[in-house]
C-alpha cells in the first residue's frame, strides 16, 4: 500500500506513534501483484452488471483484486461502490456476470455459505442484546466450534483491536470508537480470507478516524487478510489503500495506486475527485515526437502549454490540462519563458498558516487556485488582492486528459 502522507497532511500533524504505525504498516516496497502476470487474483469480477429496475447500479465491471491488497472502492454516493461490495458479501446477486473468489464461482452462494468472506457493516450492526464477547464470538458459534476454542479466538480478536476489558458490556454501553472496534473484531474473529468494510469509519469524528485508519492498516498487515473498503472519503482511500478504484455511475473511472491516481489521473472526473485541481481546456497544436505535446488554450491567445503526451493524441484534438494547485509557481514579475504561463489577477487570498491559497482570475477568464508554502525564507513581496500575477508550472507536472 502506498500511503501518501504528504498529500493528506498526516505526516505533518501526526504523533510519533502514528508515524511508527505508518512505517510498520508500509508494505515491502514493490508490493504490486497487479503488475505480475503470473499472480492469480483472489477476487475477480467478470463483466458484472447489477440493475435495480431501470437503474443500473453497476455497469459491466471487470476487476481483479489480489491477495493481501487493501483495495478501496471510492466514489460519491450512488456510484455503485456499495453494491459491488454487497455482491462480494452475497447480499446482492449480479444481474449479469460472475464473481469469482479464490478461483471459485461464488455468484450464486448465499451470504452464510461464503465462510471465507466477512463484512464490517456501516454503523456496525452490532447485536444489541448480546455482550461484546457474544458479538465477537457469534460467527464462531455458527460453525459449532467448541466453547474453549471460541473463547481463545474471541480473546485473540479482542486483543488485536485492543478491546480486552469491555468483554461483558453491551454495545450501547460503549462509545462510537469502541463499537467500531467490536465490529472489526467480530468480522476478523472468523479469520476470513477476505474482509469487506462498508464505510467503516464514517461515524467517527475526524481525529478518531485518522487513528482508526492506521489501525486498520496495522490489522490488515498483521493478519495478512485481503481488505476491500468502500468509502466516499478520498483522504481515507489515499491513506489506507494499496490501490483505489474510482467509480462513477456504476463504472470504473480508474484503478491505480493512490500515487498514480493523484499524479496521473486519466480523466477530469478522477482529477477533480481526488484533491484540488485546475482544469484548462485546450487543443493539441503539435506533437513534436519527443514525448511531449503542445497545447493552445481554448481562449486562443497564441500562448502555448507544454506537457507530457499520453497515448492516442492527435493534432487538433480537444484536451484538458490538469495542474494541481501546489504545482504552480506564483510570482509578481513576468517569468522569462512564455511557455506554461498564465497571467491573472488575484481575487482572493486564503492564509492557512503553513500555506496560502490564491484564487486567480486569469486573462482567459478562468478561475484557478494556486498554493504557496509560507516558508520563513520567503523574501518576496507578499501577494495581495488585485495584484497582477503570473502562474508558471513545469511541463512534467501538468497532465493531459482526453476525457
Amino acid at each position: 500500500m502506498t500511503a501518501s502522507p504528504t498529500i493528506n497532511g498526516i505526516a505533518a500533524g501526526s504523533s510519533p506513534a502514528e508515524r511508527r504505525l505508518l512505517r510498520t504498516a508500509a508494505p515491502q516496497s514493490g508490493f504490486a501483484p497487479w503488475k505480475d502476470p503470473s499472480k492469480q487474483p483472489i477476487i475477480r469480477f467478470e463483466n458484472v452488471t447489477k440493475r435495480f429496475g431501470d437503474f443500473v447500479a453497476v455497469d459491466n465491471i471487470t476487476l481483479d483484486i489480489y491477495e493481501r491488497e487493501f483495495f478501496a472502492l471510492l466514489g460519491p454516493s450512488g456510484c455503485g461502490k456499495t453494491t459491488l461490495l454487497r455482491m462480494l458479501a452475497g447480499f446482492e446477486k449480479p444481474t449479469e456476470g460472475r464473481v469469482i473468489v479464490e478461483g471459485k464461482d461464488i455468484t450464486d452462494l448465499a451470504p452464510y455459505e461464503r465462510s471465507n468472506i466477512n463484512m464490517m457493516f456501516q454503523s456496525y450492526a452490532l447485536f444489541p442484546h448480546m455482550t461484546v464477547e457474544r458479538n465477537v464470538g457469534f460467527g464462531l458459534r455458527q460453525e459449532g466450534m467448541p466453547e474453549d476454542q471460541i473463547k481463545a479466538r474471541v480473546n485473540e480478536a479482542m486483543s488485536l483491536v485492543e478491546l480486552g476489558k469491555f468483554a461483558h458490556r453491551k454495545p450501547h454501553q460503549l462509545s462510537g470508537g469502541q463499537q467500531q472496534r467490536v465490529a472489526l473484531a467480530r468480522a476478523i474473529a472468523k479469520k476470513p480470507k477476505l474482509m469487506l468494510l462498508d464505510e467503516p469509519l464514517g461515524a467517527l469524528d475526524k481525529k478518531l478516524r485518522n487513528q482508526a485508519q492506521f489501525e486498520l492498516m496495522r490489522i490488515q498487515e498483521q493478519t495478512g487478510t485481503t481488505f476491500v473498503i468502500v468509502t466516499h472519503d478520498q483522504e481515507e482511500a489515499m491513506t489506507v489503500a494499496s490501490r483505489i478504484a474510482v467509480m462513477n455511475q456504476g463504472r470504473l473511472e480508474q484503478v491505480s495506486t493512490p500515487g498514480e491516481i493523484y499524479e496521473s489521473p486519466q480523466s477530469r472526473y478522477v482529477a477533480q475527485f481526488i484533491g484540488d485541481v485546475n482544469i484548462m481546456e485546450g487543443k493539441v497544436v503539435s506533437l513534436p515526437g519527443d514525448g511531449t505535446v503542445e497545447i493552445t488554450p481554448a481562449s486562443g491567445d497564441g500562448r502555448i502549454f507544454k506537457a507530457g503526451a499520453c497515448e492516442g493524441l492527435s493534432v487538433g484534438q480537444q484536451v484538458w490540462l490538469s495542474v494541481r494547485p501546489e504545482k504552480f509557481r506564483i510570482s509578481l514579475d513576468p517569468p522569462q519563458s512564455n511557455v506554461n504561463v498564465v497571467k491573472g489577477r488575484v481575487d482572493d487570498v486564503g492564509y492557512l498558516g503553513s500555506i496560502s491559497h490564491y484564487h486567480v482570475h486569469t486573462e482567459a477568464g478562468n478561475r484557478v487556485t494556486a498554493l504557496r508554502a509560507n516558508s520563513s525564507h520567503n523574501v518576496e513581496r507578499t501577494i495581495s488582492w488585485d495584484d497582477t500575477v503570473w502562474l508558471e508550472w513545469p511541463a512534467e507536472s501538468a497532465v493531459v486528459l482526453k476525457a
Binding site: S115, M119, F127, P128, F138, Q142
Partner: protein, 296 residues
C-alpha cells in the same frame, strides 16, 4: 400554581374515578346483604350523626372474603379465568407474531394500510363483533354450514357454549392488542443485524431465533400483558359465547350482582379480582420500565 394544577389533574382523576369508586365497592364488600334498596346494610347517612356512623362502622367485617375462600365456585372461577386467559394469550401470540412479522417485513408504503386493517375492527362495537361470532359458530351457523357443505363433517360441531368458543372470542377480540406492540418492536429491528448474522454464517431461519426473536421480546411481553390482564376479567365473551359451561370470574361476578343480588359478596369478588390482577399489572409496569432502560 399552574404547575400544581398540571400535576394534580391526573391524581384528581384517579381519586374521582378510581379510588373513590374502589372504596365504595370495598365498603360494600364489608357489609351484609339485605332485601332493600340498596340491597345491603349498613348504609351511612350523615343526618344520623357521627355516633351512628361509628356504630355502623363496627358492623363491617371480612366475613364475605372468608365465604369466598370457603366456596369452591369462586376459587375455581378465579383459577379457570387465569387459565383461560393464559391459554388465550398464548394462542393470540401464536397468531399475532406471524402477522406482525409480515407487517414489519412488508414494503414501507404498505405498512400504514396493513396497520389500518389491524385497527379496522375497532370501528365497530365490541359487543356487536362478539354477537357476530354467535352467527358464525352456532350449530346452524356459517362455519358449520361451510364444513358440512364441503363434506368435512357429517353433523354440526358443537362450538358455541364451549370453552373453545371463548378462546376464539378472546383471540379474535384481543388480537390487535398483541399485534401492535409486536409490530412496534419488530419494525424497529435494523435489517442490517440480520445481514450481519447471515454474513457470520447464520442461515435465515437461525438468524430469526438468534436475532429477531430475542429483540422482539419486549413486544411479546407488552402484548401478552395487554391481552392477559383484560382477558382475565372478561365478561362479555364468556357470557355470550361460553354459555353455562365456562366458568370465568367476570361472569360469576355479574351473576352475583344481578342474579343473586348479593352485593356484598359480589363486591368482595371484585376486590379480589383487582388484587389478583395487580400482580401482572405491576409486573407489566416493571417490564416496561426495564425495556425503556435497555432501549436507552
Amino acid at each position: 400554581m399552574r404547575k400544581w394544577m398540571v400535576i394534580a389533574a391526573p391524581y384528581v382523576w384517579l381519586l374521582l374515578f378510581f379510588l373513590i369508586p374502589f372504596f365504595i365497592v370495598f365498603k360494600i364488600s364489608l357489609s351484609e346483604s339485605e332485601i332493600s334498596i340498596p340491597p345491603y346494610t349498613p348504609v351511612f347517612s350523615l343526618s344520623e350523626g357521627w355516633e351512628s356512623i361509628r356504630t355502623k362502622l363496627g358492623e363491617l367485617d371480612f366475613e364475605k372474603y372468608a365465604f369466598i375462600f370457603s366456596d369452591e365456585l369462586y376459587t375455581s372461577s378465579y383459577w379457570s379465568s387465569l387459565k383461560i386467559a393464559a391459554v388465550a394469550t398464548f394462542l393470540t401470540l401464536l397468531i399475532a407474531y406471524p402477522l406482525a412479522y409480515g407487517m414489519a417485513r412488508a414494503p414501507k408504503e404498505w405498512q400504514p394500510t396493513l396497520m389500518m386493517f389491524v385497527i379496522l375492527p375497532f370501528w365497530t362495537s365490541f359487543l356487536i363483533r362478539v354477537y357476530a361470532w354467535i352467527g358464525i359458530l352456532k350449530n346452524e351457523g356459517l362455519l358449520n354450514a361451510f364444513l358440512l357443505h364441503i363434506g368435512a363433517i357429517s353433523e354440526p360441531l358443537q362450538i358455541m357454549n364451549t370453552t373453545t368458543a371463548v378462546y376464539i372470542g378472546i383471540v379474535y377480540s384481543y388480537l390487535p392488542f398483541m399485534v401492535l406492540p409486536l409490530y412496534a418492536s419488530l419494525e424497529k429491528i435494523d435489517g442490517r443485524l440480520l445481514e450481519a448474522a447471515e454474513d457470520l454464517g447464520s442461515p435465515p431461519w437461525k438468524a430469526f431465533w438468534q436475532v429477531t426473536f430475542p429483540l422482539s421480546i419486549p413486544g411479546i411481553v407488552a402484548g401478552c400483558f395487554l391481552v392477559f390482564i383484560p382477558a382475565t376479567g372478561e365478561f362479555v365473551i364468556p357470557d355470550l359465547l361460553g354459555g353455562s359451561e365456562t366458568l370465568m370470574i367476570g361472569k360469576t361476578l355479574w351473576s352475583e350482582f344481578f342474579n343473586n343480588r348479593d352485593w356484598p359478596v359480589a363486591s368482595a369478588v371484585a376486590v379480589l379480582l383487582l388484587l389478583v390482577l395487580i400482580v401482572p399489572i405491576v409486573a407489566f409496569q416493571w417490564a416496561q420500565q426495564r425495556a425503556r432502560e435497555a432501549g436507552r
